[in-house]
């Protein structure tokens, strides 16, 4: 038996020859130089889509939810699909900023700001759907525990009310987390920007931050507590979203696998969306040295893992449907794969189960163009997953006499397309006005930041990592 030992050094988190000053310049100059033309074009297109969204919402309120394809028996359609899809996308941001922080994964610093911004805008898009689908949006405040003229309270035993609390708490905590991370970086821009107006605005939001280590001490504690709070929160939100389905008795929904399966799917689609956006942004803004190929590879591994978990959940659903012996359960799963919605089911399987498996190959994990393609495929697949769950179960419930075929209308489609306008309008504003990489955090992960990497004269002198000769034992020779 022979063994060879080798030290494998971790690749540097920031490529190129960066120091504190060049990192500040690289990231915050994007916010301070004149707006590029391409930004205006993208912003214009997003604004048109945003207008489409506002128009379709306006018409919905005017006319009622009858303009959508909802009908008996499928009383839930694109609105809930889009809601779950957007909330799921949001989850990657919190996962990167909270769970990876607790696991001391320093590579998160390159992408966490960016992903958190994505979370906030995705949750905004998600929040629209449950709000507008109520039909009478002017009494939407009934979902909150506010005194009203009927002296009634919301029903706290209802999963739909749990959703209200889960999503609004999630949005608020994500926003606070994001803002806390932003404060030191806003101070950086405040100290560098020349214009008086810019100084006032950034200065206001920086709250007078001055890098005091007495402040950093509380700040780091606060950040860690927030990460500790956000971790169970992010898991609970999609669990509660899955309760909307799982707590009912409809065949195909009434399963205990839903919470973990939904959370895995959320992380899966969220990471795909972060990759889609990141691959474009790093190219346009020249951030390849911060958002490196190693980052893309690590995220692809997470996509592969969560994709496999989702695939396992699909298998397990089938197994349990058979093992439970409940005829309705068995029937719905066979119908999903062979019935009228088989096309959607097989799109879902192809995109979610088969496509991420290509990332077992290191070469493909590190291929940017290919990753971009797969990230979009995954997001399409995850939309179809929610479509399959929501629509197939509702349209083929217990009684064959009440079965029907659900199809969306024009208004379903443009409301969904319009949410991209909302998302990208905010996202482009974020790219333009806020540092898209956490400047203070990325400085802390380069070797210059560690006091141990200086010699006694105060000169920068990082310890050389020694890679010893492989130890070969005698068995190998013989």
């Amino acid at each position: 038996m022979s063994k060879t030992y080798e030290y494998v050094t971790e690749p540097a988190l920031v490529k190129g020859n960066h120091d504190f000053k060049s990192l500040t310049a690289l990231i915050t100059d994007i916010n301070m130089r004149p707006t590029p033309k391409g930004w205006y074009i993208a912003f214009g297109i997003s604004n048109i889509l945003l207008f489409v969204l506002l128009f379709s919402i306006g018409y919905l309120i005017w006319e009622g939810t009858g303009i959508w394809g909802l009908n008996a028996p499928a009383g839930w359609g694109w609105a809930i699909i889009n809601f779950v899809w957007w909330v799921g996308i949001g989850h990657a941001g919190t996962l990167i900023s909270a769970i990876l922080f607790l696991f001391r994964q320093d590579w998160r610093t390159a992408i966490n700001r960016f992903a958190e911004a994505m979370t906030i805008f995705a949750v905004m898009c998600a929040g629209i759907f449950p709000a507008i689908h109520v039909g009478r949006i002017w009494v939407i405040y009934w979902v909150f525990p506010l005194p009203n003229q009927m002296a009634m309270w919301p029903n706290f035993n209802s999963p739909l009310l749990w959703d209200v609390f889960a999503v609004s708490t999630y949005f608020t905590v994500s926003l606070l987390f994001w803002y806390v991370g932003l404060v030191p970086d806003l101070a950086t821009i405040r100290d560098r920007i020349k214009s008086k107006l810019g100084k006032t605005i950034y200065g206001t939001f920086a709250l007078g931050w001055r890098g005091s280590n007495r402040h950093w001490w509380n700040y780091e504690k606060s950040y860690m507590i927030l990460a500790g709070l956000a971790t169970p929160l992010v898991l609970s939100v999609h669990t509660i979203v899955s309760f909307d389905f799982a707590v009912s008795l409809i065949p195909g929904w009434h399963t205990t696998i839903f919470p973990p399966y939904f959370v895995a799917g959320a992380v899966f689609s969220g990471f795909a969306m972060v990759l889609t956006l990141m691959i474009i942004v790093r190219k346009i803004y020249g951030l390849e040295e911060i958002m490196t190929l190693d980052h893309i590879e690590k995220m692809n591994i997470i996509i592969m893992v969560t994709g496999s978990m989702v695939g396992f959940a699909y298998l397990m659903e089938f197994f349990i449907a058979w093992y439970s012996g409940v005829e309705y359960e068995k029937a719905i799963f066979i119908l999903r794969a062979t019935g009228p919605y088989a096309w959607a089911y097989w799109i879902m399987i192809t995109c979610n189960v088969i496509s991420p498996q290509v990332f077992w190959s290191k070469k493909l994990r590190r291929n940017v163009a290919f990753t971009f393609f797969i990230s979009i495929v995954v997001n399409i697949g995850m939309w179809f997953e929610r479509f399959v769950i929501a629509v197939t179960s509702l349209s083929t419930d217990f009684l064959p006499s009440s079965w029907g075929y659900y199809s969306p209308t024009f208004w379903d489609v443009i409301t969904y397309v319009g949410t991209f306008g909302l998302f990208f309008t905010f996202f482009l504003l974020f790219l333009r006005f806020l540092p898209m990489v956490a400047v203070a955090e990325i400085k802390a992960v380069i070797p210059q930041a560690d006091p141990h990497n200086y010699d006694e004269n105060g000169e920068f002198n990082p310890p050389k990592v020694e890679i010893p000769e492989p130890i070969k034992d005698s068995a190998q020779k013989g």
Binding site: F20, T24, P145, A151, W153, P154, N155, F156, N157, P159, L161, W162, F165, A166, T169, T172, V173, L176, F177, V180, P184, A187, T188, R190, D191, R192, G203, T204, L207, G208, W209, R210, G211, S212, N213, R214, W216, W217, N218, Y219, E220, K221, S222, I225, L226, L229, L233, S236, I240, V439, A440, K443, A444, Q448, A449, D450, P451, H452, Y454, G458
Partner: protein, 183 residues
Amino acid sequence: MSKSTVENNMYGVLAEFRNPKELVDAAKMINQNGYKKFDTFSPFPIHGIDKAMNLPKSKLGWIVISHGLIGLIGSFAMIYFMMVADYPLNISGKTLLNIPAWIPVIFELTVLLSAFGAVFGMFFLNGLPKFNHPLFNSDNFAKVTDDGFFVCIEAADPQFDADKVQSMLKDAGGTNIEEIYDN
């Protein structure tokens, strides 16, 4: 505190250091010399500087847990009041005191209140927002959010003596030493 510093409104003496290690060493030295009212400034939190400065444990944990308990007890009390006391509704014969079904909302509100405690408690402990500070009068200090490492010994410290402090910071390797005035 010498009389002259009170008269001319001195806030403290600011010195710049080259890198995180020199800042940690300076903080250790200042602390060993018995100064209490001083602070170090850096563009990012430096590993181990809390020990060098001898900072007390952050009180934030207490703020967060008390907020969390308010969220926990408050949300339970709210739901109990609404579902059992004020407007009991018989929904298919289910029990009114339906605690398992309340857990999601109680959990969310506990997290929400704790997060408020963590964020606003941190700003409260740090005395932020504070838009005007004597240190902002120093032009050199703008580097602190970029690549500057600073030490400031405040005039309010009982052993403060401007000349002594300046020579001490100089010996420790500080550059760009300047007096900061409070106006």
